[in-house]
């Protein structure tokens, strides 16, 4: 018994991650995203964007050598995320964080980054009421739910799709988006044909498509998390004949995200979505970005929003560190630098709100089309400087 325990304790001690040596001038940046499980693509894209960024801009902005600490949040798992943030901050002495992704993870981490004064870039959580409210050290380069959920309501009414059916995933962000859209729809003078909440487990859509058919709407608005649900919902719209019957399919950009849209196939054609970024965005900066990204990371998996969010976060990190050239890293000065900053991103111009720290950006209405045989989100309308509220 005694020896067993001693041996196991020794083994555990040996298994501890070795404490890393810290160079004075280096800056530790924690990257806490999901590398495994159902949500592993986010982590892969973050890594790909970081790789590209560093190959272009080096790894020592303003003389601060960047040292990356990567950890896997495994998806929406606040208990693990909180521990990883805690470890990153207290043990690895991380000074800047990218992530954690997912709203619950971010919420769980907020008190720690506040107490430890660690500037944190939200690159994978969209819920309102996180940034600014939960911590002065949180800022966002992703998007905020209203930015994507609001615009399609007036757009639909404008196009005379007045009777809209709303279908969202039955979890907190879905409920959020449902409310925002329905309010906006009423405000725009449209009518609600019906609404449905789809369980996040066991999504078999045929019962729901039948209900939508029964309601005979002009259009359907869909909000689903990336993955099984986003994929399944679009295919169900197509398979059930709703789309063929002329019902317009709309939704947030998740449902036609580039990394999944190939699996959706032709069912995604002509779907109208809101998005913060499309690889088709027509700007010189984006063309260069897409070409270099593809060259470095290959064409598959295709680039999704995780990459652009990480890219812009790094832009801010590098610029902020450059501004503190030769000085010891000061998180408050860094946050002051980041807030209120406006810059050109491959997605278009973006601004970090001075008062709140959340993102203000263009939102694009896109139609999914085949471009050179590949499904792409083609921007058809630009809504400039959309608020996060």
């Amino acid at each position: 018994m005694k020896r067993v325990l001693l041996a196991s304790i020794a083994a555990c001690v040996a298994m501890l991650p070795a404490g890393s040596l810290r160079a004075q001038e280096s800056i530790k940046v924690g990257v806490l995203v999901s590398y495994s499980g159902m949500t592993s693509l986010g982590g892969q894209q973050t890594d790909a964007a970081i790789k590209l960024f560093q190959s272009k801009y080096g790894d020592a902005p303003g003389g601060h050598k960047i040292e990356l600490i990567r950890r896997d949040t495994t998806g929406p798992n606040p208990e693990v995320a909180k521990r990883l943030v805690q470890e990153a901050v207290t043990r690895d002495k991380v000074q800047i964080l990218l992530g954690p992704d997912f709203t619950p993870n971010t919420l769980a981490a907020a008190p720690i980054v506040t107490e430890a004064k660690v500037p944190t870039f939200v690159i994978g959580a969209a819920t309102t009421g996180i940034i600014g409210e939960k911590s002065p050290y949180l800022t966002r380069t992703f998007f905020a739910t209203p930015q994507l959920c609001k615009p399609l309501a007036p757009y639909a009414v404008k196009n005379n799709w007045k009777n809209v059916f709303v279908m969202v995933a039955d979890f907190a962000p879905g409920h959020d988006c449902e409310k925002i859209f329905i309010d906006a729809l009423k405000e725009a003078g449209g009518t609600l044909a019906g609404n449905l909440r789809i369980p996040t487990r066991n999504p078999e859509f045929s019962a729901y498509t039948q209900r939508i058919k029964d309601a005979k709407p002009d259009a359907v608005f869909i909000f689903m998390p990336l993955g099984e649900l986003s994929l399944g919902s679009l295919r169900a719209m197509s398979d059930s004949g709703l789309k063929a019957a002329g019902v317009k399919i709309m939704g947030t950009g998740d449902i036609t995200d580039e990394s999944y849209v190939d699996a959706v196939g032709d069912a995604a054609l002509d779907v109208i979505t809101t998005g913060m970024y499309s690889t088709q965005h027509n700007s010189a900066m984006n063309k260069e970005f897409v070409a270099e990204y593809t060259k470095l990371n290959g064409a598959s998996p295709r680039m999704g929003w995780g990459a652009i969010a990480a890219w812009d976060a790094l832009r801010l990190v590098y610029d902020g560190l450059e501004a503190q050239k030769g000085a010891k890293f000061d998180p408050d000065k860094f946050m002051a630098f980041v807030r209120g900053r406006t810059f050109e991103s491959p997605r278009g111009p973006i601004t970090i709100d001075k008062g709140n720290g959340d993102i203000v950006q263009n939102v694009y209405i896109r139609r999914t089309e085949k471009v050179n045989g590949v499904l792409q989100n083609v921007e058809i309308e630009t809504l400039a400087n959309q608020s996060f509220k």
């Binding site: 499980g37 159902m38 592993s40 693509l41 892969q44 039955d170 449905l196 909440r197 369980p199 487990r201 066991n202 078999e204 045929s206 019962a207 729901y208 039948q210 209900r211 058919k213 029964d214 993955g227 099984e228 994929l231 399944g232 295919r235 398979d239 059930s240 004949g241 063929a244 990394s259 999944y260 190939d262 699996a263 959706v264 196939g265 598959s300 998996p301």
Partner: protein
């Protein structure tokens, strides 16, 4: 009226898919008393074979189905010989741990070879879109699923009822000891059954690739349903598995249609009710 009929039909189609995926698990559980959760991984494997055959090799979808059945069947027998046979007779929890470990490994392996995203499968035109039958507008692919599921059930049930191998399998399920004493090579029959069960799981995965989507997490997403169907139906009974799968498929779809806010619970509520009422499943033997 037409809505109800369509909902029912869709439920049956969903149930058929679940049936094909779970029937192998049911038979191996009933016959060998072996809890093989990796059956869900076999299904995923079948799905990826369709992806390879249809998307990469460009062969027709119909050709990919028998290929998935055969390859997964052969693969399952390799696994059975290499790993599982050492664990016959161990307790359930050990088998659960072993096979869930294999499921984890299969997830990473799939993600290594195919990436984390969902796979695209182009269906031939005759399987896409809708078709009007008896005044109902039904999805062509679901019609295909129902028809092939019905044929498969018929083949399985007849095969088990009318062939000598089927008789041997039933004899082994009934009483493996007596079967052995009467000259049946139970080990060999187990192995063949295992291969067929694995092949069916692969076929189920192949058929569901279009409807449910194939990605590395497929096994974990459907494992619970397979377990529920097998236990509700009664282990080792093909008829029971069919009834359970179709009932749960219909109940799920109908529940979601009529009570969208509680629809997700229906399957679980039925499971609890059946397990309290008949702990060995609907058609399970009372030992």
């Amino acid at each position: 009226m037409t809505s109800i009929a369509t909902v029912l039909f869709n439920g049956v189609a969903y149930g058929m898919l679940l049936f094909i995926m779970s029937v192998g698990l049911s038979v191996t559980l009933g016959m060998m008393n072996f809890v093989n959760l990796a059956q869900a991984s076999f299904s995923m494997f079948g799905g990826y074979i369709v992806v390879l055959v249809v998307q990469r090799l460009g062969l027709p979808f119909l050709v990919s189905l028998p290929i998935a059945f055969i390859i997964v069947g052969l693969f399952s027998i390799v696994i059975e010989r290499l790993v599982f046979r050492h664990f016959y007779g161990t307790d359930d929890l050990t088998q659960v741990l072993l096979t869930i470990g294999l499921v984890f490994m299969s997830i990473s392996t799939a993600s290594y070879f195919f990436g984390g995203t969902y796979q695209r499968i182009d269906m031939p035109a005759w399987l896409s879109g809708q078709r009007d039958i008896f005044g109902l507008t039904l999805e062509r692919y679901r019609i295909f699923i129902v028809v092939s599921g019905a044929i498969l059930s018929l083949v399985l049930i007849l095969g088990l009822e009318r062939t000598k191998l089927g008789g041997m399998v039933r004899a082994c399920v009934d009483n493996p000891r007596a079967a052995n004493g009467c000259g049946l090579n139970t080990q060999m029959i187990f192995a063949v059954t295992f291969a067929i069960g694995g092949g069916l799981a692969g076929l189920g995965g192949a058929l569901s690739a279009n409807l449910l989507g194939i990605d590395p997490n497929f096994p974990l997403r459907y494992l619970v349903y397979l377990l529920i169907i097998v236990s509700v139906g009664g282990m080792g009974t093909i008829g029971g598995t069919l009834i359970a799968a179709v009932t749960l498929g219909v109940a799920d779809v109908a529940g979601k249609y009529y009570f969208p806010s509680f629809g997700g619970f229906v399957i679980y509520a039925i499971t609890i009710a059946v397990m309290l009422w008949r702990p060995r499943g609907l058609l399970g033997r009372t030992a």
